[in-house]
Amino acid sequence: MSISVTLRHRFPAIRMDIAFEVASPGVTVLFGPSGSGKSTIINAAAGLLRPDIGVIEIDGRVLADTRSGVWLPPERRRAGMVFQDSRLFPHMSVATNLRFGMRRVAPGAIHFDDVVSLLGIGALLDRRPHTLSGGERQRVAIGRALLAQPHLLLMDEPLASLDAARKAEILPYLTRLKTALKLPILYVTHAMDEAAQLADSMVLLDAGQVVAFGPVSEVASRADLALARRDDAGAVVICAVVENDVGRTLTRLQGGGATFWVPLLDLPVGAGCRIRVPAREVILASRPPDAISLHNIVPGIVRRIAEDSVRRSVVVEIGLPEGGLLSRVTPDAVVRLGLSPGSPVLALIKSTSIEVL
């Protein structure tokens, strides 16, 4: 199953020309600076904005195909939408808000009590929207969209208006939601941490064009994209727990065709998890060092070397059997190690530098 989107639209300031196809179900993060066209895509998917040309297909269901005159109105798309500003109905209680979409469709697989407990909003049901905090409001908005039994969930920067603490409060709910529901989700954000934590696929956008799209483990580890030149650049690797070494308080993970040691996790063997390896934490070596505190010496092949003139550094993309890693080093290091695309290299990563998401 897949999500496929083709859009062409001319705004006064920008011309949009978008085409991508990603896997479904799963979270597809639309990532890019403001004004890059992320919200346009999501509004077109919801049916709230009609582009000049638009073909939108979700799991084989055509929501829009302007070339043959198909344009389902929003109320018939079964596309649940979570807006940045939550948009709860102020004249209704939380419970009535939650049931708004639910009462307008046939009963489906998503039940009221499950959603309420999944999002932890049981205590809020009798409250009015204006008495809720920003984080609570967004959770109710997510619940309201889910209870309309959507075939597609659209989230337009749902956490952008929240401070870091509130964001940290909601992200776990979103992660849970993602695994509990087998839904295609389009998720707009310009925050790297949200993308790294939630994305299965990523679509990178800039100035109305698609820069790259594909599985997050591929897109986030490409040195040739602007993403790699951010301060918080880093590869995402989808892993599984192989061993919990309680004696050494270490957990061994397998992912991307490589092995990673991280401080002991609270996960059973076989459980899935994802890690983010920040580019600035990865050291390169051509020979394995000895007598070193480091746990992770990951062999790979240099795939690309991209210059970052602003920071007077280079970003090296290290290919693993599946996916890859990024390393930010000085140009001098590249010369001293004699690195060029195709040369074997060792990535040295402290186990404590690996972020387990």
Binding site: E75, R76, A79, R144, A148
Partner: protein
Amino acid sequence: MVAARAVGFGLPVAILMAWVLTRYRFVGRPVLNALVHLPMVLPPVVTGWLLLILFGVRGPIGILLHDWFGIRLVFTTAGATLACAVMTFPIMVRSVRLSLEAVDGGLEQAARTLGAGWFDRLINITLPLASPGILVGAIVAYATCLGEFGAVITFAASIPGQTQTLPLAIYAALQVPGGEAKAAELSMVSLTLALAGLLLSEWIGRRLNTVLGR
């Protein structure tokens, strides 16, 4: 009585008109807008006279009403109601329109993505959110109706117990020697009703806004 009926009949039409004027851009929109507001700027006597021309026994609409439904508007209570409704129509349209414009379009979009069609949205989202303005408009219109003079006397005359509104009665009382006492009494009634109307609208507006969380 006349005032209540005038508001009762006028309000749904006013809501519809306000809805059309806020939501749609069409060729005749400025003209329609001007027509709606005409009774507010026209001398009431002129409005009454125009009604007489249109709805009179020999007027184009009056003939139709009389022939098809046997309804006669001129010099009847129904006529007084019509005159009142027309006079207060601009007040209602204005206040309904302002409150419709104040309703956040984003909420209606949200309702759409949740499967609500246009009528569903109007009933469950737009009108409840605009209700403070609508109610305040209705109450002010009601109070204005109570004081309507010119258009009513022109179109429906001043028949005691039938088409005689409060100000008409006061005026009539003042024409009669020794009628000052009665006029004063009626004026007090008028004052009380008007004041009560204004206070009520203020209070309802505030209450509804609290409920809506503003």
